[in-house]
């Protein structure tokens, strides 16, 4: 430790500018890689502990076995992944468009907001697991039921964020639009929607993950078998058959989907706001 300090001081004294830049870049790269390195060590620890303690596979399989299962079972898991993803994406898109439209409706009329907002909250705070059985009974088609469940969970963050965003437009800019006789649609398109964008996109990021959770939860409740079943059913099925590595493989696919959704929506947010919003500026 002492020796390292000495070396650093001497080089810094030699060429201060170059050295510090190089160090900063190295530090930054390390910071970027940190979560992966940490994850790698955790997985290694997991694998070692499982092997050393001889933990049975039906209790906790090691990551290597899970990876191998994922590879061998991918053919049977892939269709389920497609089904779960499709429901998630459909629910998310309906929630995004519907949420934005409802948010716009809320800002255009105090009355509509007063009447509807409390019920949006009621829907949000009622656990989806509790309503899912009812929806599955009511809906003719299971797929539709799943879609409704996922949508119910994903809907609220978009509505509430869009409403907050649309209501927090700069007063002076509203005055300016008034001054030039802007019509209501003009004020909505050119002023309120753009200024609500950061809020709306933040809502989307939350609701993307929630749509997946909603879809998976509803699949668990519905518990339908056959070809039309999603990843959640694959987990249930594997659990009954004590195929624990397969359970983990399905779980991994669900998490990966969630991460992908979050990543894509973060990129979208950065792209849309790249010119003006602090949140999209990053470290620049």
């Amino acid at each position: 430790m002492n020796a390292m300090n000495k070396i650093q001081t001497s080089t810094v004294a030699g060429t201060p500018g170059a050295k510090s830049t190089a160090r900063r870049i190295a530090e930054k790269t390390l910071l970027q890689l940190a979560p992966f390195i940490f994850g790698f060590f955790m997985l290694a620890f997991w694998e070692i502990m499982v092997r050393v303690n001889d933990v049975p596979v039906y209790l906790l399989p090691g990551p290597i076995l899970i990876a191998r299962t994922l590879y061998t079972d991918f053919g049977s898991l892939w269709p389920s992944l497609v089904i779960t993803s499709r429901i998630t994406i459909e629910a998310f898109l309906i929630a995004a468009v519907g949420g934005l439209l409802l948010g716009m409706l809320f800002t255009s009329s105090r009355w509509i907001e007063r009447c509807l907002f409390p019920y949006a909250v009621v829907l949000q705070v009622t656990p989806v697991v509790a309503i899912a059985p009812l929806i599955i009974i009511w809906a003719k088609d299971t797929q539709v039921a799943l879609l409704i469940c996922a949508w119910l969970v994903a809907f609220f963050p978009v509505v509430s964020n869009a409403a907050v965003g649309l209501n927090s437009t700069d007063r002076n800019l509203i005055n300016l639009f008034q001054l030039y006789g802007a019509t209501k649609p003009q004020a909505m398109w050119l002023l309120k929607l753009p200024s609500a964008m950061p809020y709306f996109l933040a809502g989307l990021r939350i609701s993307g993950g929630l749509a997946l959770i909603g879809a998976v939860v509803a699949e668990f409740v519905a518990g339908t078998g056959g070809t039309q079943s999603g990843l959640a059913y694959r987990i249930l099925e594997a659990g009954y058959r004590l195929q624990i590595p397969r359970m983990f493989a399905a779980l991994f696919l669900i998490s990966a989907t969630g991460i992908l959704i979050f990543f894509v929506l973060s990129l979208l947010s950065r792209f849309v706001l790249r010119h003006w919003h602090e949140s999209a500026m990053g470290d620049r």
């Binding site: 700069d170 002076n172 800019l173 300016l176 001054l179 030039y180 006789g181 050119l190 010119h275 003006w276």
Partner: protein
């Protein structure tokens, strides 16, 4: 559809042209015994009368905070409503809501730019709201940017500009519709001293070139004397006009004017009036 709107446009142009013939004889804005009482009973303005002549003027509204100078400006623009008296624009055309049609530009205390839009799009906004095609008014927007010296920044975004530059964009936007009156609500109050002095000179240069009346709200004696040929001193509680002074120094005014004895004399005079405007307020505390 488009032919109808052009016809209306031409009609407006004709009436504006007819109006300008009498412009020097008829007042541009007549404010007669205007009161403003807020619903909670606060009396913001009492019996304010002011005439802005047809001939271009640089008028400053000067007074302590709470004297209603900003309120008066907002009422002239139609953003705020008076509860008594009349505000008339005898020479102008009106839109269907009774507001003067494209005759005013407004500059707020903040630059009030849309952060998601480029400098060009910010200046284009007033024309866009009047459904003018971008390609058709491109040169008009660029002219306005050139007037404030920012034509090279048309594609920049507001966050890339300094505070003074943002204010210039705001001024370019106010001027893009070629208004007769430019209303400015303490536009340079948030800027640093050096930027403010520079923008003062730029504004004067602009004003001398354009056929323009400026109504400029400020709480700075020095700024108002340097810029205006007329200063309206207002007092608070209730907001009222205390004095209507003329600053008879020739334009163009330069930095030399700031050090002249004439300037000092006017500053002393105006300060005296401002002191009187504050007197009532100090008594209350």
């Amino acid at each position: 559809m488009s032919s109808v709107s052009t016809a209306i446009q031409e009609d407006n142009d004709a009436s504006v042209a007819a109006a300008t013939e009498h412009a020097s004889s008829r007042p541009l804005i007549s404010i007669r015994s205007v009161d403003k009482i807020y619903p909670n009973g606060t009396e913001a303005l009492r019996n304010v009368s002011l005439e802005i002549p047809g001939k271009p003027q640089f008028v400053s509204l000067l007074g302590p905070s709470g004297c209603g100078k900003s309120t008066l400006l907002r009422m002239i623009s139609g953003l705020d409503h008076h509860t008594g008296g009349e505000i008339e624009w005898p020479t102008t055309a009106y839109d269907y809501k009774g507001r003067p049609l494209a005759e005013i530009g407004f500059v707020f205390q903040e630059p009030t730019l849309m952060p998601w839009a480029t400098v060009f799009d910010n200046v284009y906004l007033p024309l866009r709201l009047k459904r003018q095609k971008r390609a058709k008014v491109h040169d008009q927007v660029m002219d306005s940017l050139r007037m404030v010296g920012l034509e090279k920044f048309a594609k920049s975004y507001p966050r890339e500009l300094s505070g003074g530059m943002k204010m210039r964009v705001s001024i370019a936007r106010a001027l893009v519709t070629k208004p007769k009156v430019l209303l400015m609500d303490e536009p340079f109050a948030a800027l640093d001293e050096i930027t403010r002095l520079k923008l003062n000179n730029d504004l004067l240069a602009l004003w001398e070139k354009q056929n323009l009346t400026v109504i400029f709200v400020t709480h700075s004696v020095f700024e108002s004397v340097y810029l205006s040929d007329r200063i309206v001193v207002m007092a608070a509680r209730p907001g009222r006009i205390l004095a209507d002074l003329s600053i008879d120094a020739p334009y163009p005014r330069t930095e030399q004017f700031r050090t002249s004895s004439l300037y000092n004399e006017h500053c002393r005079d105006v300060s005296g009036w401002l002191k009187q405007a504050m007197a009532g307020v100090e008594d209350e505390h």
